[in-house]
């Protein structure tokens, strides 16, 4: 019988050995995947035992997210507290037990919980664990300019809309405001969450304060899109800023007249008659761009839009589902259309058709022009510091897209300056600083209710800021009249005051 006993011993021991293999699998190879699962409540609760890293604004001392120590049932938890009560609420996001996480809190959870694969962090964490001390996460310093952000939020307050300002030379995002905002301290409680969801707001339809309009809000770009069309026309060498046009007050599309009078963005007379491309851009004349579009074709315009980053999800330290790509959308299928044959080139050229853009993307269009044709990778994370203060990581500027030739960018720079000096964007003028911009006023389907846009950069000769401001549901409010003044305030808040120099 001994032979049989030996054999079943081997079987029994192999069965038990397979358990060690199984445990090894789940605790090493599969552990990361398990931790990343949304329904992993153990991971979620366990992470509240970690003293989460703080989140600072770019000044390094305005605390956007801090911790509140709570001892419950013999366990110590660190819950989140947001001292500013909602500054850059959609950017910072939240970290709660009940609603999980959003924003930077979600995207940079690795740094904040010290579970990123950085050697120094791993050693720190291991020492903490061995000492039995609380694991402390790394602190984040965002690029957000606290004062300008505050200003943007108060300027947008009461309306629905967004403002994005970034440094065109580095891609660092100074302002990312989305109105309405919310108080992240309220997210955890059911009643607080309900009050955020059902807060009355100025924008019917999509009133959610949780939505980051700057990166997720999809708007008709209106005449701001003429910047992309102009870039396509100039880059292709088919037009120059001096190219002549005759504006009879309309443009003929598929045998039908499309009148300039339908364009609330245009200033001056209804029929401009003889103008050049620069003037057509300066006064936002649809007929001029309609003809440009028909001449260069939809394919070129869409390809140029891609050069600016349309049709791809912009890189940023926010969760992928909080960033939307811009482009032509099929409303029914909620999908992007990339077939030029399905598109009316004339209407596309002046920003109609089914083109939908995010404020971030339009800010990147302005930034591309400002930085000589290069679109820098936008980023919100300035640096990561260990709890002790030493540098863990820093974002280095990098080029995301090359949108156009430097020559084209220089010409567009002049055209955008003309908009502010004597065109539709004169309300963005700042004494002592050359401002460049482009207005947009998109129809909403409701009469006299518009989506008002302004994209901009300054100082034009050495741009430090570039951005986009959008306001939804503006009754008789145009890009030049409601969005440009906010842009002006933001530029002034960030740029050094020229009179003091």
């Amino acid at each position: 019988m001994n032979r049989q006993i030996s054999r079943i011993s081997v079987v029994a021991l192999l069965l038990l050995a397979s358990l060690i293999v199984g445990t090894t699998y789940w605790q090493s190879w599969a552990a990361g995947g398990l931790a990343a699962r949304q329904d992993n409540a153990i991971q979620r609760v366990a992470e509240f035992k970690i003293k989460r890293g703080l989140i600072y604004a770019s000044d390094g001392h305005t605390v956007l997210a801090a911790n509140k120590k709570v001892v419950k049932a013999g366990q110590t938890f660190y819950f989140r507290r947001y001292p500013t009560g909602g500054l850059a609420s959609q950017v910072v996001g939240y970290s709660t037990q009940g609603r999980s996480r959003a924003g930077v809190e979600r995207q940079e959870n690795g740094y904040l919980t010290a579970s990123n694969a950085n050697l120094g962090t791993i050693i720190d964490k291991l020492t903490d664990q061995l000492r039995g001390a609380t694991v402390t996460g790394n602190n984040l310093v965002l690029t957000i300019h606290a004062n300008a952000q505050k200003l943007a939020e108060s300027a947008l307050a009461g309306a629905c809309g967004a403002a994005v300002v970034l440094n065109p030379q580095t891609g660092a995002v100074d302002v990312m405001a989305s109105s309405p905002g919310f108080n992240p301290n309220k997210i955890e409680s059911a009643s607080g969450y309900a009050s955020i969801l059902h807060s009355p707001s100025a924008c019917p339809g999509s009133s959610s304060a949780l939505l980051n309009r700057a990166t997720q809000g999809l708007y008709a770009p209106g005449s701001t899109f003429k910047t992309v069309t102009a870039a396509a026309a100039l880059d292709a060498g088919i037009f120059t800023p001096e190219s002549r046009f005759f504006d009879p007050g309309y443009c003929i599309e598929y045998g039908q007249k499309v009148y300039n009078s339908g364009n609330p963005d245009q200033n001056g007379p209804e029929q401009y008659g003889n103008v050049n491309l620069l003037e057509g851009y300066q006064h936002s004349i649809n007929a001029v761009f309609c003809n440009v579009g028909k001449r260069i074709g939809a394919r070129r315009i869409l390809d140029k839009a891609k050069d600016f980053g349309f049709y791809s999800t912009p890189p940023l330290e926010l969760p992928a589902n909080e960033r939307a790509p811009s482009g032509l959308y099929n409303f029914k299928k909620h999908s992007l259309i990339d077939d030029a044959s399905q598109v009316d080139p004339g209407r596309l050229a002046f920003g109609q058709e089914r083109m939908l853009v995010t404020p971030l993307q339009m800010a990147l269009v302005a930034a591309g022009v400002a930085d000589g044709g290069k679109v820098m990778t936008p980023h919100l994370l300035k640096e990561v510091r260990s709890p002790g203060g030493s540098l863990v990581a820093r974002t280095h500027p990098s080029v995301w897209k090359r949108a156009m030739k430097p020559k084209t960018a220089a010409e567009l720079n002049q055209m955008m300056q003309a908009v502010v000096t004597g065109g539709t964007g004169m309300q963005a003028q700042i004494p002592g600083i050359k401002v460049a911009g482009k207005t947009g006023t998109a129809e909403t389907g409701l009469s006299h209710v518009y989506t008002a846009w302004f994209i901009f950069f300054a100082p034009a000769e050495n741009p430090q800021v570039a951005g986009a401001v959008v306001l939804e549901h503006q009754l008789n409010g145009f890009g030049g009249s409601v969005a440009a003044p906010i842009a002006k305030e933001l530029m002034q808040a960030i740029l050094p005051n020229p009179s003091k120099q």
Partner: protein, 418 residues
């Protein structure tokens, strides 16, 4: 032996690091272990010296984790351990001269096994927990007779197979009769009580012992074939079985599926496979080094349990989270050592009954460990049975101490003769 003893006591004492108030526990269990040791030295002086310390160590790990998960359960578990040790001592003292008298009562054990398995089906004293009718009430105590039935069945099989092994090897149908009747009875009761884990366990023990007795691999293959066929039919016909297999194959779904518990639609990980998935999260959270004893996450900040049945079926998930891969592997190695020693006892024994008894008890011990830990690791479909010596549960503790007593008796006799 002294090393093992010292390690065991140190390990028990570790819970005092978690909480000084539990030092009493540590002393108490240490005293209990010494008592068991003294009895063993007296009753079975020639027995294998490693089995008792290893069992004590596993029990200590178990009671430590149970204490950490819920001190009141550890108190109850403590009493069950006392009862287990008393029965262990009683069995050693009563049977120390010659345990082989048990062989004469083999049919009694066989029938006893069936009666024990049938007890929970009776009205009044029987009760069902989690859809399986496995419990017997006697006043404030609840008892799972299935655990004892396992031992009875092994004793019966050892006796019967020893007597009939030669004729059985010729595979004459009439000799297989009583064997199949007793075994079939057990299986029927198991199907009726929905206790699939135990069913698999008994079947495995049966096949292993049959193989040891007859050396006929064809019996094992036929058994496995029968089991596969039976399993397939059960999968097709019995909703409960079908559900277990589905959970095993696809614990996560990306879209919502029918949830029998609520009658609505839900992601499977939020419904049927909730337990398995939470257990895997617990294991995964442990990582290589573990969260540390007492530092694992088992409840929300509000004290709601995150892992159901964490101190019985899922105690391994809890241990794996707190001790990590290092601790979990050490624990499994301890199980392997116990099995290796148990099989050695079977090898050294010089009569068929002793060999079959020791091999059956040890194989059952190994298979039971595999079924529950393999279940929580998603190696096999999850069926709820206890982890020997470690899980919370009175019947399990008592039964495992009796298994230990059996192994010590066999090894004492074998060693005394050489």
């Amino acid at each position: 032996m002294l090393t093992a003893l010292g390690f065991a006591s140190v390990y028990i004492a570790r819970q005092s690091v978690v909480n000084w108030g539990s030092l009493g526990y540590a002393l108490f269990f240490f005293a209990l272990y010494i008592a068991a040791h003294v009895v063993a030295r007296f009753a079975v002086p020639n027995a294998d010296p490693y089995l008792l310390p290893m069992a004590a160590l596993l029990t200590a790990v178990g009671v430590t984790e149970i204490y950490r998960l819920g001190p009141s359960d550890a108190f109850k578990q403590g009493w069950w351990i006392v009862i287990g040790v008393v029965l262990f001592a009683g069995a050693l003292l009563r049977l120390r001269r010659d345990y082989r008298v048990l062989e004469q009562y083999k049919y009694l054990f066989g029938i006893g096994a069936i009666v024990l398995l049938y007890l929970p089906r009776l009205p009044v004293i029987g009760s069902s927990v989690n859809g399986a009718r496995l419990w017997v009430h006697a006043g404030p105590l609840r008892f799972q007779p299935g655990e004892l039935a396992k031992i009875f069945l092994i004793v019966f099989l050892a006796g019967y197979l020893r007597e009939k092994r030669e004729v059985l090897a010729q595979a004459r149908l009439k000799d297989l009769g009583p064997l199949l009747v007793i075994w079939g009875g057990c299986m029927l009761v198991l199907v009726a009580t929905n206790d699939l884990g135990s069913g698999l366990l008994y079947f495995g023990i049966f096949l292993a012992m049959l193989y040891v007795a007859t050396a006929r691999l064809s019996f094992v293959l036929a058994g496995i074939g029968l089991f596969a066929a039976g399993g397939f039919v059960a999968y097709e016909k019995i909703a409960h079985v079908h559900e277990r297999v589905t959970i095993w194959l696809q614990p996560w779904t990306t879209h919502r599926v029918y949830c029998p518990q609520t009658g609505g639609l839900a992601l499977r990980q939020d419904c049927q496979s909730y337990q398995l998935v939470k257990s895997l999260y617990s294991i995964g959270n442990g990582g290589f080094g573990g969260a540390g004893l007492g530092k694992g996450t088992f409840t929300t900040a509000d004290g709601h349990a995150l892992i159901p049945y964490v101190n019985t079926d899922f105690i391994y998930s809890a241990l794996a989270q707190e001790l990590g891969l290092v601790g979990a592997a050490a624990l499994l190695l301890m199980f392997m050592l116990f099995v290796a020693r148990g099989m050695k006892v079977a090898l050294r024994a010089d009569d068929g009954f002793s060999k079959l008894l020791a091999a059956g008890l040890t194989f059952g011990f190994a298979l039971q460990t595999f079924i529950i830990v393999g279940g929580v690791l998603r190696l096999i479909p999850l069926t709820g049975i206890t982890l020997p010596f470690v899980s919370y549960g009175g019947s399990s503790v008592v039964a495992n101490f009796l298994v230990l007593a059996g192994l010590l008796l066999v090894s004492n006799r074998a060693n005394a003769q050489t």
